[in-house]
């Protein structure tokens, strides 16, 4: 029985995994994608998960976000154990308490940018909080793009719309899976900057998976995952420090 790790700062955990194990396949062919991960994600912080390909970083994020289920162990969002939720409960959780930014294909192509941003609220049958949405749209500089379809937007603009959608719900926690993986460096810096501001100015919590030290450098805390285990973490990282650390872990 692993002890619950003490929070490393005074902030409360918005999401946590306890002894999370995820197996793919059976018997000899089984792959341990997560091998007993226990971790807290602090509220109001920007956490990055780094690791080489196949380290299990995406799997960890998917499981914590309620997109995938664990083989054993527990995942909590707030105080809710995700294992106790059925499909309807998970759907509601994703809609109301979690925001997503994927690497690509973030937007419904038949809806315009504005409709995409308010999509979770519309799905819930709620009116979006207009003042908040306006603020988010203004922050992300999307005011003149609201009636454009995704196909009429650049890659960077599409990701900004995705970030706006994640924020529009005031979800508590935003999961971002390689959000800048398909972008050039200028657009990447923009998106990462926005997510930083979401944490600093708007009080959101962000968990981001990335293999790019430059991107992870925007985070407050970086977790290093290798072979399904957390092997290290850094606080207030610098890009150089991260590169060194990655090189060391790769050896």
């Amino acid at each position: 029985m692993p002890a619950r790790p003490a929070p490393t700062t005074g902030t409360r955990a918005i999401a946590r995994a306890v002894d999370a194990v995820k197996l793919y396949g059976f018997g000899d062919a089984a792959v341990r994608a997560l091998d007993g991960v226990t971790v807290d994600f602090e509220s109001g912080r920007y956490t990055a998960i780094m690791g080489p390909s196949g380290s299990g970083k995406s799997t960890l994020m998917h499981c914590v976000a309620g997109l995938d289920s664990l083989t054993s162990g527990q995942v909590f969002i707030g105080d809710v154990d995700l294992a106790t939720l059925d499909d309807r409960g998970l759907t509601r959780l994703r809609r109301d308490q979690v925001g997503f930014v994927f690497q690509s294909f973030n937007l419904v192509p038949t809806l315009d940018a504005g409709e995409n941003i308010t999509l979770p609220a519309s799905l819930a049958g709620r009116r979006p909080e207009q003042a908040w949405v306006d603020e988010v749209v203004a922050t992300l500089g999307l005011g003149d793009r609201l009636h454009h379809r995704p196909s009429e937007l650049s890659g960077g603009q599409q990701q900004r719309v995705a970030v706006a959608r994640a924020l529009a719900q005031r979800p508590g926690i935003i999961f971002a899976d390689e959000p800048t993986g398909n972008l050039d460096s200028k657009a990447s810096a923009e998106i990462l900057g926005f997510m930083r501001r979401a944490v600093d100015d708007l009080g959101q919590s962000v968990v981001m998976v990335s293999h790019d030290p430059g991107a992870a450098g925007y985070a407050d805390r970086v977790l290093f995952l290798v072979d399904g285990r957390i092997v290290d973490e850094m606080r207030d990282p610098t890009a150089d420090g991260l590169i060194d650390n990655m090189r060391r872990l790769g050896e």
């Binding site: 998917h62 997109l67 995938d68 499909d87 309807r88 759907t91 509601r92 994703r94 809609r95 109301d96 997503f100 994927f102 294909f105 973030n106 937007l107 419904v108 192509p109 038949t110 809806l111 409709e115 999509l119 979770p120 519309s122 799905l123 819930a124 049958g125 196909s151 959608r165």
Partner: protein, 852 residues
């Protein structure tokens, strides 16, 4: 390349299975029609072969007037005195007269055993075993004026045994006979559903034949005399108005005639098969189009690895041909099942056909396979050409979203087709040109198909307009998805559009026909009552009925209606017989010149259109030939507007007095099909009805109807036909529904990532299902509404074009029926979405999000 094609096939088996079902249904219809008609043809061939077996020669009157499909062959009857002279011819072993009249047996409780589907014969029992197709299974042959042999199915349905009394209604008096024998027809209980009452030859001639004459004479030759030789020898002693033919030739003629009648039946079912196949073709075109869109990368990879254009084209076409082949084979099996089922249905309604195994002619198999394969391959041709144009570079590019270019050629073609089609409809309706109207309908349909990708987004957007407000995001998504691939939406809806257009045209035709005959009864029928048989349609009412009615003081006028064929100046025409003295009081024919009272023995009446066409006028004298061979001059004594009310909306261009029918036509034309009656002034309807009922009571098969009853009877017959049509067409609508399922399934597959994304950001399974359901309903409604628009225009033009033939032509758009079709479409739309919606809602969110 063959291997690649086959692998491609296996890779999409589920999607293609749905497509194959569509083709299989179409081919099944076709194969079923062919098998059923072949089987029926074989059955009737066997029947006639059995009837004619043992007959070496047949003697009959020469045919001088060509019969119509309604009247059959119009040959004069034969004086039976000739039998003795034929028997005396050297080489003749025996000769036997054939009496084939009408006889309706009456059940013990007094109700007639009426057949709605087959004739009811009264005939003579043959003494010569060689020519007798019936075999006694009980009792003995009939002898004298009080004895009868009946067929076994009659014995069963009327509960008659040997020794029982039986009442038989004939053209004259109702006979009270005794059943002395029970017979079977070549092992069957009856002859293809016909009822049969036999007496000995002299009495059968006397009671069943109107004029004491017989229909034909069967001759059996001595051993060693060929049929041809026999015919030659008999021919030598026959008077000029009679002829002898060999038994083989006579069988052949009868078989030929029955086949011609089956042709109508064949054409009817082939029509449905054609609609189903065209609907199936749309489906295939659509499915291949989508699949090729999805396989662009795979095809491009093949191209970059060195596959030539021809090879890609060939592989797609081969894939289509294989599907066509498999579906056709399934269709043939389906068709045989369909034929067996339909035959069982015939048995059920009392047509006891001899058991013939389903006839699967090589032609059936070949036609089905060729049709299935050719239609499938042709439908895949355009998508295949598109596939062959995929550039190798597309392998490394992202799959492009379908772009609809506003092709100017397409738009121009559509507009031209549409304009020509509408011109055809309008001109056809104005000029009473049926062919123009039908061409117009086809052209308008083609125009809508061509312009479909332009029309679809506009209409679908309109249909979906209220959805976002009513159903929120699922509604919005449904509307957008229904309009995002205009070509695909239009193609999918086209299949349904065709089915619905055909349903609509037919329903308008039917309901307008109904309205027309009802208003014709209202306006043109002056009679208060009508007597008919409600039976098979053979005229079987005794002329006695009209005569007796006229004697009643409660009756002001009564006239039987007969029909037959005669020739005017050598050209044969259908002709109707009425009582010239009373016709004016019973029917409003719109008399323009002359008087029906002058009809008599030497006059006839003609409608204005025919008179104008032929350049005849009142008083014109013309040579008229009757079935009995007489040709004599007759005068036009009346010109009228329209005799649709007499001819019941068929060809009513000529009228004769019933006395001419009695004098010049064979026995089969001496019965009345209907008797119209008008009650006398000052007689209450109760009194009149009582008097008519009293007369009719002596004739068990006669049914008395008042004006409402006449309409009811006609309407119920039409409703039955409409019912059959609707069931058949519901099948093609169903195929259209399958097409929607297919397209949605493919679209959902294509939108895997989008679906995953929606789920990730919080769409529930129900919302996804609802969205796909709405999308399906939009597509279904689009197809249905377009089909209805075409159908209403086409149906209205059709009725207008028929206004010359159809008396009191009234265009009736059956709103409740169309609303029902629309509701049905919504239901089909919802049902069509179930499977794809279920699959979408079960999609693994993570796999969808992670899908490359």
């Amino acid at each position: 390349m063959l291997k690649t094609a086959l692998k491609g096939l296996l890779g999409h088996k589920l999607r293609l299975a749905i497509t194959a079902v569509a083709i299989a249904l179409g081919v099944g219809f076709m194969a079923g029609t062919l098998v059923l008609t072949d089987t029926l043809a074989r059955t009737f061939d066997d029947l006639f072969a059995r009837v004619g077996a043992g007959v070496d020669a047949e003697v009959r009157a020469r045919s001088v007037v060509e019969g119509s499909t309604e009247t059959g062959q119009q040959r004069a009857d034969v004086d039976p005195a000739i039998v003795e002279r034929i028997t005396a011819v050297e080489g003749v072993k025996g000769a036997e007269a054939n009496v084939l009249g009408f006889a309706v047996p009456v059940k013990k409780d007094g109700t007639p055993i009426a057949s709605a589907s087959a004739p009811q014969f009264g005939g003579n029992w043959y003494r010569l075993d060689e020519v007798n197709p019936y075999e006694l299974v009980e009792g003995q042959p009939p002898r004298g004026p009080k004895e009868a042999v009946i067929d076994r199915s009659l014995a069963k349905s009327g509960d008659f045994s040997v020794g029982d009394p039986i009442k038989v209604q004939t053209i004259g008096p109702t006979l009270e006979l005794e059943v002395v024998g029970i017979a079977t027809f070549g092992g069957s209980d009856n002859a293809a559903g016909a009822t049969f009452v036999a007496m000995d030859t002299p009495n059968a001639t006397r009671y069943f034949s109107a004029d004491g004459r017989v229909q034909t004479i069967s001759v059996v030759g001595e051993e060693g005399v060929s049929q041809e030789e026999l015919v030659r020898r008999i021919g030598a002693i026959l008077p000029g108005d009679l002829e002898a033919v060999t038994g083989a030739a006579s069988i052949d003629e009868a078989q030929q005639e029955s086949r011609e009648q089956l042709e109508v039946f064949n054409a009817f079912f082939s029509g449905f098969a054609a609609v189903s196949l065209v609907v199936g073709a749309f489906l295939i075109y659509n499915t291949f189009g989508i699949i090729i869109g999805q396989r662009t990368r795979e095809l491009a990879l093949l191209r970059s690895l060195g596959a030539g254009r021809g090879q890609v084209l060939g592989s797609v076409l081969l894939e289509a041909a294989v599907i066509g082949l498999l579906a056709s084979l399934a269709g043939i099996v389906l068709g045989v099942g369909l034929a067996v089922g339909l035959k069982a249905l015939l048995d059920l309604i009392g047509i006891d056909l001899p058991d013939t195994a389903p006839v699967i002619a090589p032609r059936t198999v070949i036609v089905s396979i060729v049709l299935g394969v050719v239609i499938t391959t042709l439908s895949a041709l355009v998508p295949a050409v598109k596939a062959s144009r995929v550039p190798p570079l597309a392998a490394i590019r992202d799959v492009a979203v379908e772009r609809v270019q506003g092709s100017a050629v397409r738009a121009a073609l559509g507009v031209v087709l549409g304009a020509l089609g509408i011109a055809g409809l309008v001109a056809g309706a104005a000029n009473d040109e049926l062919a123009q109207v039908l061409t117009g309908v086809v052209l308008v349909f083609a125009a809508v198909v061509v312009l479909g990708p332009r029309i679809a987004p506009v209409v679908a957007r309109g249909l979906g307009a209220p959805l976002p407000r009513l159903a929120g995001i699922p509604g919005l998504l449904a509307r957008e998805n229904a309009t995002r691939n205009p070509k695909r939406s239009a193609g999918t809806a086209s299949a349904l559009m065709l089915s619905v257009a055909v349903v609509t045209v037919l329903s308008i035709f039917f309901f307008s026909f109904l309205a027309s005959i009802n208003s014709s009864v209202d306006q043109d029928l002056l009679a208060d009552y009508q007597i008919d048989t409600g039976g098979f349609g053979f005229p079987t009412l005794s002329p006695e009925i009209a005569t007796r009615l006229e004697e009643r003081p409660e009756v002001a006028a009564a006239s039987g209606v007969r029909f037959g064929s005669f020739a005017v100046e050598g050209d044969s025409h259908p002709v109707y017989g009425v009582d010239g003295a009373d016709v004016d009081e019973l029917f409003d024919l719109g008399l323009e010149e002359g008087s029906f009272e002058d009809l008599g023995a030497d006059g006839f009446a003609v409608d204005r259109v025919t008179a104008e066409e032929q350049g005849w006028r009142l008083g014109t004298e013309l040579d008229v030939t009757f079935p009995n061979g007489t040709t004599r001059p007759m005068r036009i004594v009346a010109v009228y507007d329209n005799a649709g009310i007499v001819a019941q909306n068929s060809d009513g261009h000529y009228l004769l007095d019933n006395s001419v029918f009695t004098a010049e036509f064979p026995a089969q034309n001496q019965f009345d099909a209907r008797v119209a009656v008008r009650s006398a002034e000052g007689v209450s309807s109760d009194e009149a009805r009582a008097a008519i009922d009293e007369v009719a009571a002596a004739f068990p098969s006669a049914e008395v109807r008042d004006r409402d009853g006449i309409k009811e009877e006609q309407n119920s017959q039409l409703y039955q036909s409409l019912g059959i049509l609707v069931v058949m067409l519901a099948l093609s609508v169903l195929i259209g529904g399958l097409g929607i399922t297919n397209t949605l399934a493919l679209s959902v597959f294509e939108r895997t990532r989008e679906v995953g994304l929606l789920r990730a950001v919080g769409a529930s399974r129900r919302q996804l299902r609802a969205s796909i359901g709405y999308e399906s309903v939009i597509l279904t409604l689009f197809g249905t509404i377009m089909g209805m628009v075409i159908g209403v225009a086409g149906g209205a033009a059709l009725i207008s074009a028929l206004s010359g033939t159809l008396i009191r032509a009234t265009i009736s758009v059956p709103i409740p029926f169309l609303v029902a079709v629309l509701l049905l479409a919504v239901i089909i739309g919802v049902l069509a979405s179930l499977l794809p919606a279920w699959r979408a809602s079960r999609l693994d969110v993570l796999r969808a999000v992670a899908a490359e």
